[in-house]
Amino acid sequence: MKRYSVFALAREALNHHQGWERAWKSPSPKARYDAIIIGAGGHGLATAYYLGKNHGLRNVAILEKGWLGGGNTGRNTTIIRSNYLQDPSAALYEKARSLYETLSQDLNYNIMFSPRGLLMLAQTHHEVRGYLRTVHANTLQGVATEWIGPERVKELVPIINIDGPRYPILGALYQARGGTARHDAVAWGYARACSDMGMDIIQQCEVTAVRSENGQVTGVETTKGFIGTTKLGIVVAGHSGQVAEMAGFRLPVESLCLQALVSEPIKPCMDVVVMANTVHGYMSQSDKGEMVIGGGTDGFNNYTQRGSFHHIEETLRALIETFPMISRLKMLRQWGGIVDMTGDRSPIISKTPLGNCFINCGWGTGGFKAIPGSGWAMAELMARGEPGPLAAEFSMYRFREGRFIDESVAAGVAH
C-alpha cells in the first residue's frame, strides 16, 4: 500500500492523479479463513483491523451482503462522545473516543475527527440533577466532562434560544473532547488498512446459513458458496436477530427504524454538537455546511429503513423552538437505519451458545461513536475466546443474570 502523504499528493499532482491505487482489493473468497466476520460496517471492519493489528490474526475475511459501510455506518449523525453514566459503558466509549483521537494517523487515512465539543442540554430540573450526577460519575471514571450554566451555553452556541417558553435552557453537560468524524472515512480507512494486512473484504456476499459440528462453528454458506472457518464474528447491527437465528440462538434484541435528516448547506453557524433530550432533537453542522439532525426511533419493529413522518415533524418542531433561526431552512435529505435495541440499551459483545461464534450487536441508536472501542473489544474476544476487561460486562447472558448496564437515556432519545 502506498502511504498517503503530502509528498504522495505532490507526486500525483505532477502525474495528473493517474497513479492512485485502489484503497482496498475486491477478491473472490478463499475456501477457508482463520476467522470470518459477517458485516463490513464500521464495527466489523474495526474488529478485523484490531484482530490483525493487536492479535496478529490476518487470514481473515469480512463478508458484506451489500456494500462496505452502506448500513448504519453510512446512516448515522457522526457524533462521538463518551459521557455515559455506568462504569462499563464509560470505559468502552471512552476507549473508542480516545482511539478516534489518533485514528487518522493510525490508519494513514483522514477520518476528519473533529473534537469540537458536545453539549447535552438540561431543560428540566430532573435533567439538571441527572447530568450533575453524570458529571460526578464521569469525574470518577476519568472522563473529562463538566457542568456549564446557561450563559456559557449561549457563548458556545450563539444561535440557541436559552429562554424558550416551554423548556428554557438550565445548563448543559459539556464534553469538550466530544465531536464528530467523517463516518464513511472511518469505514474506508479501516477497510484500506485491513486489505493492506492481507484480509479479504468480500462485498455482495450474503450469508445464508451458519454451519456447525458438535456445537462448534465450521463455516458459513453464502451467495458465493461455502466458506470454512473456526472463528465467526457476527457484527450485523439491525439484522443481528436474523443471523443469530441461522446460528441457532435468539438475542434479546429488537430491530427498529431510527431516522436522521440534513438541511441545505448554510454558512458556518454552530461549531459544537448540541443534543436536546427533553424536546428530543440533536443537531450539528457538517463541514459542508448542512445541519445534521438526529430524529426519533419508531416504537414498532421495522426492517424497512424508512421511518414514520411524524417523528421528523416532532424533531424539527423541537429544534425550531431551540434554534429559531433554522425555521426557514429547507431539509435536503432524510433517511432511516435499522437499529438493534437491547433491553437495557447497552450493547452486546459476547460469546454465544454456539462454540467459537461471537456476536457484537445491540448498539441501538449510538453505535458510530463506539466503532474503534467496539472493534478493539470484539477482536480481543475473538482472538482469545474469552472477553477482555472492556467486553466482560457486555455479555448477552447479563439479561438472564439481571446484571443490566442501564443506559436507558444513553442515546439521548426517548426510547
Binding site: G241, R250, P252, E254, N301, Y303, T304, H310, T342, G343
Partner: protein, 107 residues
C-alpha cells in the same frame, strides 16, 4: 405511515393515534419458572423480518389494547383483532398464508 383499524370502535386509526406495545401473544412466566423461561419471556423477542403479531393501544381513541398482524419487511398490515385472543384468528392466518406462502405459520 401506518393505518390500523381498531376492532373495537371501527376507526381507521393513523399511527399518531396509537401507541405501540411490542410483540403479542407472549406466554407469561413468573415465580417458580426456570431462568430460561423467565429470560425468554422478559427479553428474547422473535423480532422477525416478515410476519409479526403485535400489540397496539388505541391511545388517542377508545383507549383499548388491540392486536395487529403486520409485515416488518414491508409495513403491510394484514389485519387487526381484539386483544382477548390467545392466537391470531383463522381468517387473518389464511390471509397471511395467501400473501406470504413461505411463512412458517404462527407458533
Amino acid at each position: 405511515m401506518l393505518l390500523l383499524e381498531c376492532p373495537y370502535c371501527g376507526v381507521k386509526a393513523e399511527e399518531t393515534e396509537l401507541s405501540p406495545g411490542g410483540e403479542a401473544h407472549l406466554k407469561r412466566f413468573g415465580p417458580g419458572s426456570s431462568d430460561d423461561e423467565f429470560e425468554a419471556y422478559m427479553f428474547a423477542r422473535k423480532n422477525p423480518k416478515g410476519v409479526h403479531f403485535e400489540r397496539w393501544r388505541h391511545a388517542y381513541g377508545c383507549g383499548k389494547w388491540i392486536l395487529a398482524a403486520r409485515c416488518t419487511a414491508t409495513l403491510e398490515v394484514f389485519g387487526t383483532y381484539v386483544a382477548q385472543s390467545s392466537a391470531p384468528p383463522a381468517d387473518i392466518v389464511e390471509k397471511i398464508k395467501a400473501k406470504r406462502p413461505e411463512w412458517k405459520g404462527f407458533s
